[in-house]
Symmetry: C2
Subunit: 339 residues, 2 copies
DNA sequence: GAGCCCAGTGTAAACGATTACATTCGCCAT
DNA sequence: ATGGCGAATGTAATCGTTTACACTGGGCTC
């Protein structure tokens, strides 16, 4: 492996001069510069990133810690992150970790000295204590309950989205609106539940506990939850699933039970995954700007990385967009934007 | 930021001893060991990964270079890679790069000194010349035309998959089978086309050039291609799209043209993306084991990293599985495995 | 022509770890 | 008593860079 020393020897100069030429720092004569560049090219010299970052104390790399979920969400977030990082000359060190405190902390430790900062998604609720990681490491928490004041945080406007779609159902005349909740300790799930309650109360409807089931954010969970809800008397006329996967499971359950959607039961989801518009009927939902979520998280992190980590903590939130399709039975069946 | 020196000073020993304790190398007295561990814990010392890798000449990190595509494929591949890498104590440095030679080479250079090896996906055909990267860097090429002998390669059994599904259509009695090809210079696309031809010839059918259109692997492309194919006289009775996205586009085009699937036109895709089984009718396709693809690629790379990069080049291929659903009109409409 | 400045270059000290080699010391066999 | 051995520890070189500082020599200004 050819190092800067090899280049220096071959070009008959010192390593300092080579470094200056290759980084454009310090004054070097035109002639020497050319010679060095020629030699470096001929020898196929490529600077050793690790060595460089040791002395400059910057790795030009951002750590990304994601929970064990995957699918379209995962890849879109990463796409947003990578685009943004690359535009600023940064790499991405990606690791999937358990969503709990311990998993996150372990993974973060392993990143010490390899990254300039970390975007971590640890949606598990409860661990309100700040993370036990080297204090100097900038951290942006994604879709997580804000924790202490060691880290910035970026979340989805879950409440706003829930309120929008539940409000829409209410305007369509529904009063018995059920909810299929997400994973029990999950931050997004809790917030979506809260938005649902707020929307009902704002319309003068008292949330009925028998209309709240849990689906764990999975398709199978949504399926089971829908079957439960069909047994409730009087039966709800609308189901709001806290994500699209569960809504899709619910649609299957309803079809197999012979319940027509949206005539006998309106259904709505959350996330607007690609599948949603292909459902039969197409699923009304709340669009989450996944790409922007990743992009914004990296921007926030880069801000910390560059300006030091010491200034005031930022708490940001990306807003959502109501996507009305046929599954909720709106007259506005075709008001779907674009897709 | 606390370093090994801080720990050494605080514990009243030399850095060598601290290192020995923390790595379990060399003999250290029980007492000293305990003291050092206690101090390290109290000071929240975490070894600096970058510094360590500089001297040990191992980064415990694998580079991953993926083209600008995304979606379910992307995330599943990464999931397979990360699981495998993590099991062996490795991290993943992920970068999206242009699929062409130059993009790959640039990205690889940026990874010098940060990774122990690279999995690169550069499906663009044509660049048969070996990649111009530091020779010592182990590389596994994913879904790409084997290039020179500097790198191992792992591909999908595209031909096998195409032959299976086209063969299936032939057994159903079709003789005029159209194909919607993938992106023009793409390796997978070319191989799938080849498999299609081979299958036809094996059945004594001469491929009809007017039945081959191109859809660029996109949904819109598939839509347009299907409209083209409907104009061909005599009209084909089956369409094989080289991926599911195009098949889905084709389904839309057929529905809007009032052509019933599968009665008037059989349709088949390739990839088995999650959407496929939700289509109406559910899409017959070829399942690609995406997770295993990523997992296997990392295993191959780790083999190179560990045993040096010098031994014989491996050329591996993951096999595919025929997934028959309703869109191709098989009597076996419900033979779909699991899903 | 002495002093200064500045462009161009080299020397060597970092960065934070690992590890080969040297040192010390107690113990045991001779 | 002496030599040798091995356990426990320290010293310092090393990995591949960047960069503060020192040095040289030529062109100015007075």
């Amino acid at each position: 492996m050819v190092t800067i020393k090899d280049v220096a020897r071959e070009a008959g100069v010192s390593v300092a001069t080579v470094s200056r030429v290759l980084n454009g720092s310090g004054p070097v004569s035109e002639l020497t510069g050319q010679r060095i560049r020629e030699v470096a090219g001929r020898l196929r010299y490529v600077p050793h990133g690790g060595a460089r970052s040791l002395i400059t104390r910057k790795t030009q790399t951002l750590g990304v810690l994601l929970p064990d979920l995957y699918g379209e969400f995962f890849s879109e977030v990463i796409r947003g992150m990578d685009d943004t990082a690359q535009r600023h000359g940064f790499h991405l060190l990606i690791s999937r970790a358990h969503a709990d405190r311990h998993g996150i902390e372990t993974a973060m430790r392993a990143m010490r000295g390899r990254v300039d900062g970390v975007v971590a998604m640890s949606p598990d609720l409860g661990a309100d204590a700040p993370l036990d990681v080297p204090a100097a490491l900038p951290v942006v928490l994604l879709c997580s309950a804000p924790r202490g004041d060691g880290a910035d945080s970026l979340t989805i406007d879950n409440q706003g989205g829930s309120k929008a779609i539940v409000g829409h159902l209410i305007r369509l005349g529904h009063t018995r609106i059920a909810i299929i909740k997400g994973a029990s300790r999950n931050y997004d799930a809790a917030e979506r539940m809260r938005g649902y309650r707020v929307a009902l109360r704002a319309a003068g409807i008292t949330p009925d506990p028998s209309l709240a089931t849990e689906g764990g954010f999975t398709e199978a969970g949504g399926y089971a939850a829908a079957l439960e809800l069909l047994k409730v008397k009087p039966r709800p006329t609308a189901i709001f699933a806290a994500n699209d996967s569960m809504a899709i499971g619910a649609l299957s359950a309803l079809r197999e039970s012979g319940v027509r959607v949206p005539e006998e039961m309106a259904v709505a989801g959350f996330d607007d995954i690609p599948l949603a518009r292909y459902m039969d009927p197409p699923l009304s939902t709340v669009r989450v700007p996944t790409y922007e979520l990743g992009a914004r998280a990296v921007e926030m992190l880069l801000h910390c990385v560059r300006n030091g980590n010491d200034d005031a903590r930022r708490r940001e939130r990306v807003s959502t967009e109501l996507v009305v399709r046929r599954s909720c039975g709106a007259g506005s069946a075709r008001r779907t934007p674009s897709s």
